[in-house]
């Protein structure tokens, strides 16, 4: 369970990105976060893996205040999450397989186990036949699917995706949205920010809309 308790974020210089955000995301929920550019979606998502820390309020994951975690504990928190952030670019000097296996390398898994899991993750997103290709040889939609495979390879219970369908044409965007729906159906908590909440309409998600850093609307 993820709890935001009166979360605020004010950057140096006085820009207030978030103010008084309070909401709870339960296990295995599919939450679609929407709002205009600069509404605070990315900042809010980044607070879950402690990439950003609140300047007021608390962010709790299963009761643990991640905003006050010591720096040494943050990597271990991130390993439990599946992250598809705008910064989670694919590495062009690694092939698809090694990109997906990177979180497993970081977690210190054996080569054999890493290979098994990375293949399974790529099969899950339909790219098992593209293992040895460079990410630059893939289309935008395929690259996004590789990023998703990398996010799920550690079998996370929470999947966070920041604008995963941005810059994709509608067909690719629907494919990606379907993938998230399938993960959620398998019991994974999915929090995804998007400009187009309609992509997830069929999955009956919980919609959370932000406007100017504040919670504007919340609907199931």
């Amino acid at each position: 369970m993820i709890e935001f308790e009166a979360v605020g974020k004010c950057y140096p210089g006085g820009h207030e990105a978030l103010a008084g955000i309070s909401c709870t995301i339960r296990h295995a929920e599919l939450v679609v976060l929407s709002g205009h550019s600069g509404a605070g979606k990315s900042t809010l998502l980044k607070m879950i893996p402690a990439i950003e820390r609140p300047t007021s309020g608390r962010v709790l994951i299963n009761g643990q205040d991640v905003g006050h975690l010591p720096a040494s504990a943050i990597p271990y928190l991130r390993r439990k999450l599946g992250l598809i952030l705008q910064e989670s670019r694919l590495l062009t000097d690694r092939d698809v397989f090694r990109n997906v296996a990177l979180p497993l390398e970081i977690a210190g898994l054996s080569r054999k186990e890493a290979e098994h899991r990375a293949r399974a993750a790529l099969e899950r997103v339909g790219l098992a036949d593209r293992l040895t290709e460079s990410p630059v040889a893939l289309s935008g939609g395929e690259q996004q699917r590789v990023a998703i495979a990398r996010a799920i390879v550690n079998k996370p219970s929470i999947l966070i995706a920041d604008e995963p369908t941005a810059h994709l044409d509608p067909a690719y965007a629907r494919e990606i949205a379907d993938l998230f729906r399938s993960f959620n159906a398998a019991g994974v908590t999915v929090i995804v920010s998007t400009h187009d909440a309609n992509l997830f309409a069929g999955a009956n998600p919980r919609l959370v809309r932000l406007s100017h850093g504040r919670l504007a609307e919340e609907a199931a």
Binding site: P49, I51, P75, R78, L85, E87, S88, L102, I106, A107
Partner: protein, 295 residues
């Protein structure tokens, strides 16, 4: 512990891969380090050889009193009593002319001695002084040089002290040089690692987001700096060994012209170990500084 070794094994693999990806750049960086370290390494090896030459001779300066040919046994005994009562002497040894001849013959001059009609060498007392400084030698020399039964008073091994002092000075200069050049090498490695960090900035950022710890990110860079330093150490060893090999015949020829036998020693295994360790340590230090500053 197994995980720790596995993490280092992975980091070593990444560092080697990094070096292999830029073979020319890596080679040139190591070569620059090697060239800089070769100078002090060769110098220290040279001074070590000289030191072994000096230590082959009695390190404590001595004075020899050569007696006149017509000195009787009684006069010799009287002089010996005088010397034994001299508080400035710590040891006294009598070398008869026959013993002196045997020593010379043993040192390769038997043929020369055989051509002489009689043993030309005199009896002698070898004196060791309590305070082996120049003033003490001058005082003892003044006291016995004009003794009725002394033909000549000669200070034997003061040059060894001077040579030892010079060697110590030379070694100090080489250590200072190694320190100065070592600092330059730390800067070279610092710059190499800084560039590597900049090149791999994206990978570092992505790895952080995916849960990489700081040691996980830093380890390959430590290995890279250490390996580059070690490579430099290997080059330095090669250059120093080659230089000593090339210098050795020339030095031997010079020594022969002075009637002495002297050969340049090779780098001892412990010196090689020290050189490689020092070079690797410099690489690590450069990495550590770059990582502290840029990561």
């Amino acid at each position: 512990m197994k995980a720790w070794f596995a993490a280092h094994w992975r980091a070593l693999g990444l560092a080697l891969g990094n070096l292999a990806a830029q073979p020319l750049g890596s080679l040139l960086s190591s070569l620059v380090i090697g060239l800089a370290l070769a100078l002090p390494a060769t110098g220290l090896a040279l001074f070590d050889s000289l030191a072994s030459l000096a230590s082959g001779v009695s390190g404590r300066p001595e004075m020899t009193l050569f007696l006149k040919d017509d000195t009787s046994a009684e006069e010799r005994a009287k002089l010996e009593r005088t010397l034994r009562n001299d508080a400035s002497l710590s040891a006294l040894r009598f070398v008869s002319r026959d013993e002196a001849r045997t020593d010379l013959a043993r040192n390769g001059l038997a043929d020369v001695l055989d051509t002489l009609p009689a043993n030309p060498l005199p009896d002698a007392f070898i004196l060791t002084l309590r305070a082996p400084d120049l003033a003490a030698f001058e005082a003892v020399q003044a006291r016995y040089a004009h003794h009725a039964r002394v033909e000549h008073a000669q200070v034997d091994t003061l040059w060894v002290q001077r040579l030892t002092a010079l060697i110590d000075f030379g070694r100090l200069v080489m250590y200072l040089l190694a320190g100065v050049l070592g600092s330059a090498l730390v800067i070279i490695t610092f710059n190499t690692i800084r560039l590597q960090i900049m090149t791999r900035r994206e990978e570092i950022e992505v790895s952080r987001v995916l849960g990489a710890t700081t040691p996980f990110i830093r380890r390959p860079f430590y290995w890279l700096g250490g390996l580059q330093g070690l490579g430099g150490g290997l080059f330095a060893w090669g250059i120093a060994a080659l230089s000593l090999e090339l210098l050795a015949p020339a030095v031997e020829r010079i020594a022969q012209t002075y009637g002495t036998v002297f050969s340049l020693g090779r780098l001892a295994p412990e010196a090689v170990g020290l050189l490689l360790g020092f070079a690797a340590l410099l690489g690590l230090a450069g990495s550590a500084l770059a990582l502290r500053r840029h990561l």
